[in-house]
């Protein structure tokens, strides 16, 4: 492959010479030239005619974004999204947000400065520059100082440039490069690259899935779950009867408990007469009744009490609650049935409070009225 001229270079071994050379090149009017030194040399920026770096503005912008972003985020969390009273302080205790705000401002400022410098000011990473891997580069990376005037400068004339550099006392040489070396560009849509991305995505998802759903359920990570305590709906090996959920200890009552005078054998319609519904069919009572009916009764009796739930066939079918029998029952009879149960229907005494039971009764009455409406109701 043919080699092309990149630049004419000169090497100096004294910092004073490089300053002089830089000034000479600048004064000769070249624009595309550079000075290479193993360490920063004072006064070189001026000699080259470089403008002050604008990096500081990037820092300022990043720091402001960091500070403003963090204090707004912390305030939003503390005031809007997750307000918590901590130590009796107001939600917006902004002095307490200062440390995190400060840290994030510093973090963003530093990352922004260095990131912008590397990516935009230097256009790095770039390991295929014509100067790389040349004898010139090897010298300036150790202890020499070099000037390199590029061949694509508007004023470039090889002879003149060589003359100029020689006059400043440099060891003149030329830097060549091959086209092929420079034209290599990584392709965004290269299938290999896309496969790589897909592979990474799959590996990450699989790893995440395994971690959160499998690994965390292995010992020792799951030991928080294996505690010697009873969980709802599980058996207990501790109690002789094997029930995890316990009834109140014999002879004790819970606060607010009123003993129920009738036993399982009592006839619903006869004891029902002595039980008086204390609730009026208000909206609140009906809403409560509806909620509890859907929670406790509808799984067997169906959403409208017609005895047609999904349990049909898997469990002795409950009768409809719209039968004449139930409709003519006093409220107390339904209450009694809920309280003590009836044949295969269990007792709900301990799950449903007294008031809730009456609310359910009211709601059943509403259902019955709706399904067996009289002519007068329809008008």
């Amino acid at each position: 492959m043919e080699k092309k001229l990149y630049s004419i270079s000169a090497i100096y071994s004294n910092p004073n010479d490089i300053i002089r050379a830089a000034a000479a090149v600048r004064d000769a009017g070249y624009k595309k030239f550079d000075i290479h030194t193993p360490y920063p040399i004072h006064g070189l920026d001026g000699a080259m005619g470089l403008k002050e770096t604008k990096l500081g503005f990037v820092t300022l912008a990043a720091a402001i974004i960091g500070a403003a972003g963090m204090i707004s985020f912390a305030s939003w969390v503390a005031v809007v999204d997750y307000p918590q009273v901590i130590g009796g302080k107001p939600y917006w205790s902004w002095p307490a947000f200062v440390p995190v705000t400060y840290e994030i401002a510093v973090l963003l400022a530093v990352l922004g400065t260095v990131g912008a410098m590397i990516a935009f000011f230097f256009k790095f990473p770039n390991i295929s520059h014509p100067l790389h891997d040349t004898p010139y580069m090897k010298k300036v990376s150790a202890d020499k100082f070099g000037v390199s005037i590029q061949a694509d400068d508007g004023k470039f004339n090889e002879k003149v440039v060589r003359e100029l550099l020689k006059n400043t006392g440099g060891e003149v040489d030329a830097v060549y490069y091959s086209e092929e070396f420079l034209t290599f560009k990584p392709q965004m849509f290269d299938p290999k690259f896309i496969f790589l991305l897909v592979g990474i995505a799959l590996a990450t998802s699989a790893g995440g899935y395994l971690y959160w759903n499998k690994v965390l359920y292995l010992p020792p990570f799951d030991w928080m779950m294996q505690q010697p305590k009873v969980k709802p709906q599980t058996m207990s090996e501790f109690y002789a009867d094997g029930f995890g959920m316990r009834l109140p200890v014999a002879g004790t009552v819970a606060r607010g408990f009123i003993p129920y005078p009738y036993a399982l054998g009592a006839k619903a319609d006869s004891v029902g007469k002595f039980l008086v519904n204390p609730l009026l069919p208000t909206k609140a009572a009906l809403d409560l009744g509806k909620k509890k009916f859907f929670t406790y009764c509808s799984p067997c009796h169906g959403n409208f009490g017609k005895g047609d739930s999904r349990m049909n066939g898997q469990f002795p079918n409950p009768p409809t609650l719209h039968s004449d029998k139930v409709r003519t029952w006093p409220d107390g009879a339904i209450f009694h049935t809920i309280t003590v149960g009836q044949n295969v229907m269990p007792s709900y005494q301990y799950q449903i409070s007294r008031e809730e039971r009456w609310a359910i009764v009211n709601y059943i009455r509403t259902l019955q009225r709706a399904y067996n409406a009289k002519e007068s109701d329809l008008q």
């Binding site: 300053i19 360490y39 990096l55 969390v77 307490a96 790095f124 770039n126």
Partner: protein, 462 residues
């Protein structure tokens, strides 16, 4: 430049003249190129064993839970937090040397800056492991340390000093790592151009990002370095300030004092310099870096140790004074109990190693003796570890209710983790001196005599 073989082990002061730039490169690259010496392997064997002790203790900790440690009520913070504060403190010297001394234009820092920065990173790593593992179920720690949107609708508490700590330590680690890497870029480029094998060439090419020593780049680079130093300086001070808030913002007598932030920062610099001192002296001996890590540097480090040690001693005494002057009976009890209670031995170890023995550095003879510097620096490390022990354990073991009083007794797993953290630290240091340029080449070159143009005046200031 001169190609005469220099005796590296001969000490030359920075002022009198360092070797030429080319020989410098050769010298700094030497440990990287040489097949590791026996000494290095022996060192690695020792630190590796310590590290394995740590790994075993850690495995047991993860299997059984934090109950394997000696912590319990009332002393719920034991070695975990002691070690965390100890290591974070050590991590403060690096950025102090690379940032604060940079801003103060202290030339002597160049020889040790890279080293100190690396030690910062390693020390912070050692510190972070303790806070992560003391959360109990560290595999979920991510979820409660960092604010991220989650299905529980829960956020972290931004008003908690512990959360400030998460932000401070992470920021500090990231910024230190970036600072360190930024300094390494030109050195990677030099190593790339000196590389003799393909592996080295490829590795250093990638690591150097394609650095070309262009002055158009140096211009921004130098500004970036200055900006970073400017940001890192208050950052160093903020990190240990925030660590001290973990204690000072609580209402435990013995913790709840306003003197904590400056006192902690001084202590951090004190312990950090002592640790850097120890590692520097070992490196100077092991790699024959007498030319670069000079007696002058070591003496200056000793002076800083003396100053910060005295500040810390002042804080100890001031705490006592305030405990008495405040007229608060509980406060006074805690401090008297510290010095004369069941943990009196820890208190007096701390006082001896931190306040009394560093005073020996007033003598120039001791200050400039390698052996004395090494031993006294070890004393400082011991003393500073005990300082954290005293602050944490003695303040907790006497609760407000005498019925809850108790003692803290560390278990072997506590010691295992402590040994392991030293193993981790020194293993990383050994790997670092072997595989990376332990001394900043480009920076040192800029300060050797004749490195800067004469017409520009003083020349060697960087």
């Amino acid at each position: 430049m001169s190609s005469t073989v220099l005796d590296y082990s001969k000490e030359l002061s920075v002022i009198e003249g360092l070797p030429s730039a080319a020989t410098l490169d050769e010298m700094i690259e030497k440990p990287i190129n040489d097949f590791p010496q026996r000494r290095w392997f022996i060192g690695l064997a020792i630190t590796g064993t310590m590290l394995m002790i740590g790994v075993v203790s850690l495995t047991w900790l993860l299997w059984k839970g934090v109950g394997v440690w000696g912590i319990n009520q009332p002393v719920a913070w034991g070695f975990d937090v002691v070690n965390f504060v100890f290591w974070v403190g050590i991590g403060h010297a690096g950025t102090l040397i690379s940032a604060i001394l940079f801003l103060f234009r202290q030339k002597w820092r160049t020889g040790i800056a890279r080293f100190a920065e690396a030690m910062t990173l390693f020390a912070v790593l050692c510190a972070v492991q303790f806070v992560i593992f003391h959360t109990g179920r560290p595999w979920l720690a991510m979820a409660w340390l960092f604010p991220y949107p989650n299905q529980h609708g829960v956020w972290v508490n931004f008003t908690s000093p512990l959360e400030w700590d998460v932000f401070a330590v992470n920021t500090y680690f990231i910024v230190s790592a970036v600072f360190w890497y930024l300094g390494l870029i030109p050195d990677f480029a030099t190593l790339r151009d000196r590389a003799t094998t393909t592996i080295k060439k490829v590795t250093f090419s990638i690591l150097s990002l394609g650095w070309r020593f262009s002055n158009r780049h140096w211009q921004h680079y130098e500004r970036a370095y200055l900006i970073m130093a400017g940001f890192a300086t208050p950052l160093v001070l903020s990190v240990h300030t925030i660590v001290s808030f973990d204690f000072a913002v609580s209402i435990i007598p013995g913790w709840h004092t306003t003197i904590f932030p400056p006192y902690f920062v001084a202590g951090a610099i004190f312990s950090g310099f002592a640790m850097v001192q120890n590692v520097l002296i070992i490196t100077r001996k092991a790699f024959k870096f007498e030319t670069l890590i000079t007696m002058d540097t070591i003496e200056k480090m000793n002076k800083i140790i003396l100053v910060t040690g005295t500040i810390v001693g002042y804080a100890y005494i001031m705490e006592f004074f305030i405990a008495w002057y405040s007229g608060n009976a509980t406060e006074l009890f805690v401090f008297v109990n510290r010095a004369f209670g069941p943990y009196w031995w820890a208190y007096w170890t701390m006082m001896t190693c931190n306040l009394f023995t560093p005073q020996l550095f007033w003598s120039k003879k001791i200050r400039t003796s390698l052996l004395a510097s090494f031993i006294l620096a070890i004393f400082v490390n011991i003393g500073m570890w005990f300082e954290r022990f005293v602050i944490i354990v003695t303040s907790l073991h006497r609760d407000f209710l005498p019925s809850s009083w108790g003692m803290f007794v560390p278990t072997m797993w506590d010691f295992g983790m402590l040994i392991g953290s030293f193993g981790l630290f020194f293993t990383l240091v050994l790997l670092f001196v072997k595989f990376l340029p332990a001394i900043a080449m480009a920076e040192i070159k800029a300060v050797i005599p004749g490195a800067q143009p004469t017409h520009h005046g003083n020349g060697a200031s960087h």
